[in-house]
Symmetry: C2
Subunit: 314 residues, 2 copies
């Protein structure tokens, strides 16, 4: 059995995977604790709990974590897990668990999971883009999960697409995730509602400031036309960054993950339409397939488990 653990900004998800990654034999959930020692304790307990739950021993453990992870499995820092900085997560966990532990960035783990058993099986050049609070991404290039020099590759959310635009909480002006993430969609909806548009969503939320993703979702379910216009405008933002990635890396498939995927075809169609409008030389290159992620919020844990089982570690 392999344990795959996904440490997010609010929750830690653990899966026990035997033969079939898509059908874990055990799972556990715990809150994320913003303290190194307690976070390590959480993971050690979770592995132990999964072993008890399943009656199996975890041979290796894979951890995907929302943060900057170097090639040695050290968590350098994480905007989403304040208080945990420069934690040698792989080393500490290997010592505590007395078995090989692989630590990887969560978006990279999700990328690998979608490549191995999700939406991009059989494709060797894949970009995964998770649209959530921010944007997380990862690249499979020529069949290999890309890490870069330090292990820090794939930070697409920080790609500047609007150099004179508004300032993000990172201090940068106009990074992709400012407008093309879930937060960006909510902000855009509030702006449009404050301007007197987007009646369908405004009706559900009460005031512009109270608009959340669920209101957009509900209006979409009711087939409101103004929401489709909103998604088209949002797709424009996503499309600029995707076209950048396509020009840079020439992928066969782009997998869209993260919470926004729940908006379904209307969002994906808008993203496809807008992206193709930004890709140059469309007559001379085959179209890139833009697909929804298949594995949902389990992709990070599944990918970490697969990476741990596949790589030579320890």
């Amino acid at each position: 059995m392999i344990c795959g653990i996904d440490i997010g900004g609010t929750k830690v998800l653990g899966l026990a995977i035997a033969d079939e990654p898509l059908d874990p034999i055990g799972h556990r959930l715990a809150p994320t604790i913003y303290d190194s020692d307690s976070l390590v304790d959480t993971i050690v307990s979770m592995v132990s709990d999964l072993e008890v739950d399943t009656g199996r021993t975890a041979d290796v453990v894979g951890v995907g974590v929302a943060g900057i992870v170097d090639r040695d499995g050290n968590l350098r820092y994480s905007p989403n897990i304040p208080g945990v900085v420069d934690l040698p997560l792989s080393g500490v966990l290997s010592d505590r668990l007395q078995r090989p532990v692989l630590v990887e960035n969560d978006a990279a783990s999700a990328t690998w999971a979608e490549h191995r058993c999700g939406s991009a099986v059989g494709c060797d050049n894949v970009i995964f883009v998770g649209l959530g609070t921010g944007i997380g991404s990862g690249f499979v290039l020529d069949g290999v999960l890309h890490h870069g020099w330090n292990g820090f590759s794939g930070e697409s959310g920080h790609m500047i697409i609007d150099k004179t635009g508004p300032t993000h909480l990172t201090g940068a002006r106009g990074p992709w995730e400012l407008t093309a993430s879930g937060s960006g969609l909510t902000r855009l909806a509030r702006e449009r509602a404050a301007e007197g548009c987007l009646e369908s969503v405004l009706e559900l939320a009460g005031t512009a400031d109270e608009i959340h993703g669920r209101h957009i979702h509900a209006a979409l379910d009711a087939d409101a036309r103004d929401v489709l216009e909103l998604l088209d405008e949002f797709g424009h933002e996503v499309g600029i960054g995707l076209a950048n990635l396509i020009h840079l890396l020439d992928p066969e498939v782009v997998v869209i993950g993260g919470g926004l995927v729940d908006l379904g075809d209307p969002l994906l169609d808008a993203i496809r339409r807008q992206t193709s409008s930004f890709v140059l030389g469309g007559d001379h290159r085959p179209a890139v397939s833009i697909r929804p992620a298949r594995l949902g919020n389990r992709s990070g844990a599944i990918g970490a488990a697969l990476l741990a089982s596949e790589l030579q570690i320890g």
Copy 2:
């Protein structure tokens, strides 16, 4: 002996390389002809001439060309060589020359040359950025020249950094090469001169509209302070795009090539300073080394020759 040929927008350069790539035993130059048949004839003649010049036979031929080249060595299209579209360059040349011919994008060839015998020897994660009329670039990732799904990767010049900015000749708004190429520097200098700044350059050029790169170069040689300010402003544009590439691909080394490298340390220092101001988490990651290219305008031909000698082709 290996022939390395670089087909640019105005010139075709051919090198005959024996043991030492940095010291070719023969070289030839010809004008680029914007017609498929004549262009093929030019290359065939050039290989023959280099054989006569050196008294050696070319075992393989490598061609780097300014355009979109697919994985099979077909030149799909080239903004710089109008009239040549969908030319199966590798196939046609192999037939005519009766030996293996590898065809690659010129910036990718230059990237490989700098990795193998230029500024980035020993570094497995390298980004090459050529600042010329436009921006050409290439990536070495984990020691491998990256091609992508079709062979089209590395089109960094089309990366949008200013989504509401001016429109480029491609129709895109605010792509990197619009402001961060040699043309971008000249345009910026003309703008500043028209505003009454940049006296040193204006004096040399006569009027703002007549400013060219050589005037910027000459003013720099004379240590004019206003040119340093110009380069700093230009470095800001280059730095935004380089920081994007660093966030995406986490390289160890960025090699700056193209004609602008002749501006030397003042330009490189401005680029280094501005790039580091845009890279996030600088305290948690080692600094990326930004270096000038070593091989100059021979890099495309040298790289194509090296690739032809190294890859299994034919």
